[in-house]
Amino acid sequence: MIAVYLLLLIPLAGMLFLSRVRDSHQAGRINIRFNSLSLVASLWLAVDVLLEGPILSHSQMLYIDSFNVYLIALTAFVGLTTSIFSGPYMAHEQELGKVGKKRLRLYYTMYQGFMLAMYLVLTTNNMGVMWVAMEGATLATVLLVSLYRTPESVEAAWKYFILCGVGIAQALFGTVLLYFAAEQVHGIQETALLWTVLHEHASSLNPGVMSIAFVFLLVGYGTKIGLVPLHNWLPDAHSEGPTPMSAILSGLLLNDALYAVVRCKMLVDGSLGNHQAGNLMMGFGLLSFLVAALFLHRQTDIKRLFSYSSIEHMGLMTFAFGIGSPWATFAALFHMTTHSLTKSAIFVTVGYASQLAKTQRIEKIRGLIRTQPSIGWGLLIGTIAIAGFPPFGVFASEFLVLVATMNDYPWLTPLLLIGIGIAFAGLFRHIQPIVYGDVPEGQTAIRANMLPVMIHLGIVLFLGLAIPAFLGNWFNQATLLISGKLPL
């Protein structure tokens, strides 16, 4: 129980503390320390949940079960490795004169602010607070997207702010409707918006209201997941912001928004008793998956390339959660893990690659393997992993999604296979010349710490070969919770 409070207090303290640290090198190191403390707290919490089952705080405001506890651990882990990367990276950007000390202070403060918002989204039991925290995550990151103050980055940040703001407002309307439905059942109460209470009485919530509410919730949180056609902010924000930001946006924010949608789906499923919510998610997910795969071919900016790949994978996960069978749910949970580990590793590598080539334009980044083998191989292996090649974990999770689809909706399998094929071609036509092409004149190696990348890819590789018992147990429990059955 203490671990949950610690988890929320550490980033809060980090925010307050880092807003006072003037020396940016030191701030980078302090940021790492706060993130490692959070990781320790999250692991403590994970052990607690593993041993004692779901935890509900005394005020009922916080609720941890096997579904969110593994996302919390994942969030803390990716937050830590990205902060290890971010210190030297941002120092280098400062040397290049792209950012000043003041803005770096803002950067580190908001890094912790973003982590706080993410932990709050994951731990809260109150659907309203979840909305507030999700909006808080937007507010924390919007100034970071425009950190470099270039016209492009200001435009990206404005788009991000307006689109996500308006999008998430729809989710608030959905939340109001949710509260309205709950009040019909048990009157005006402070507890009526608690997820545990709602879930318990899901079958008595009015189906008409709940189905309208879910449309709004899906559109609202779906904007943050980056579902097509609400995705326009995502590539811009990823490409124009600092690279560590792209890594945590892709690896954490998208996951947590999807988490919110799945929580809502669990309530709606309980109320409606049919597959309506699932169908909506499948439709949106499949559309995002296919459209993003096609867009991969037409990109000229390396960070935009990989942000479209994020949309594609988030689409696939939304689709899998939409199917709703135990296998599909297991696969989606697994894919959340493998994707966010792989994608944040890729963004770290891409950050180094664009510092090396001094540009983000794909046609100008060439010959990475010859200039600096660690970055070149890192990018190549990361791309192989994200494209879904065995023996990496993404292959295993995508394969599971395919199997689940074949089981329930066989006629959709060809679409998925075609999409995976198109995405693979789209990634490799860009990445191959980047990695193998001729070295441009004057390109020299830079100082790069590839340890976070290697750890991430190592874990993804390991997950492709074997799932450790405790992780499998979490996934099983979460699947049981979401779909009502065990996968096997």
């Binding site: 405001m61 109150n126 309203g128 607070v129 909305w131 507030v132 925290a133 909006e135 808080g136 507010l139 919007v142 100034l143 425009s146 103050r149 270039t150 016209p151 492009e152 200001v154 435009e155 990206a156 940040a157 404005w158 788009k159 702010f161 307006i162 703001g165 308006v166 407002a169 729809q170 608030l172 309307f173 939340t175 109001v176 409707l177 509260y179 309205f180 009040e183 019909q184 005006i188 402070e190 009526a192 918006l193 009015n206 008409g208 209201v209 309208i212 326009n232 590539p235 811009d236 490409s239 124009e240 867009f295 037409r298 990109q299 000229t300």
Partner: protein, 225 residues
């Protein structure tokens, strides 16, 4: 049901709802920024009155707090901030030409009808006549979006955005007598931070494209042109 059969409270709520949606339409047709901000302030004040009325009639004191929050934030703080920004940046002299105001108004009316259509299952659900107002609040949300779509001024976008929040808040007050206190405080905090950030952004946008016309923010595209 004839309107005279309703209690005074319900009649008052219906009146306020219609006034709020009227302010939304006024904003839609207003081409001067300062007046737009003024109408937005009126909407905020109407919202605060609705909340205070609900608090009084339903005897739920926590709604007084949220009425006060709404009044200070939406009725006073944000409009004054926007007004000062508009004056400081010298935007009050520009008049935005609205293409096809008649068509925009017609579109707005269509949105109101659409909201009623969507909310039918909810309105049927309960004898409360005030549920009617859920449709109104959804219309305010949609009209706010329409305002954002038809304008090119960043300030008008912010007003549209905040008016969407007004619609949501109205829905919460009339359908459920407000959200739980902790949620309401959280939302108010978010709105406050958002308003401040918008102010910061105006300066960033102006220093990067030398105007606040968001149509000129067109450097980033889905694919290379």
């Amino acid at each position: 049901m004839a309107i005279t059969e309703l209690s005074h409270y319900q009649q008052a709520i219906l009146l306020l709802a219609s006034l709020i949606v009227l302010t939304s339409f006024l904003m839609l047709g207003q081409s001067r920024l300062l007046r737009l901000v003024f109408i937005f302030a009126v909407q905020g004040i109407l919202l605060a009155i609705t909340t205070a009325l609900a608090a009084d009639v339903l005897d739920s004191p926590h709604l007084y707090i949220s009425a006060l929050l709404t009044l200070t934030l939406k009725g006073i703080f944000i409009p004054i901030m926007l007004q000062r920004l508009v004056l400081n940046m010298g935007l009050h002299r520009d008049m935005e030409t609205l293409p096809n105001p008649a068509r925009v108004m017609m579109g707005g009316t269509g949105l109101v009808v659409f909201s009623y259509y969507v909310c039918l299952p909810i309105v049927k659900l309960s004898p409360l006549i005030t549920l009617n107002t859920i449709a109104i609040s959804m219309a305010v949300v949609l009209l706010g979006m329409l305002l954002m779509i038809t304008r090119r001024q960043a300030v008008a976008h912010v007003v549209g955005f905040m008016s969407i929040e007004n619609g949501l808040f109205f829905a919460a007050v009339v359908s459920t007598y407000g959200m739980p206190m902790v949620v309401e405080l959280g939302i108010a905090f978010d709105v406050l931070v958002a308003a401040v950030l918008f102010g910061v952004f105006f300066f960033h946008i102006r220093s990067s494209i030398d105007s606040l016309d968001v149509d000129q923010l067109n450097r980033l595209n889905e694919v290379e042109k």
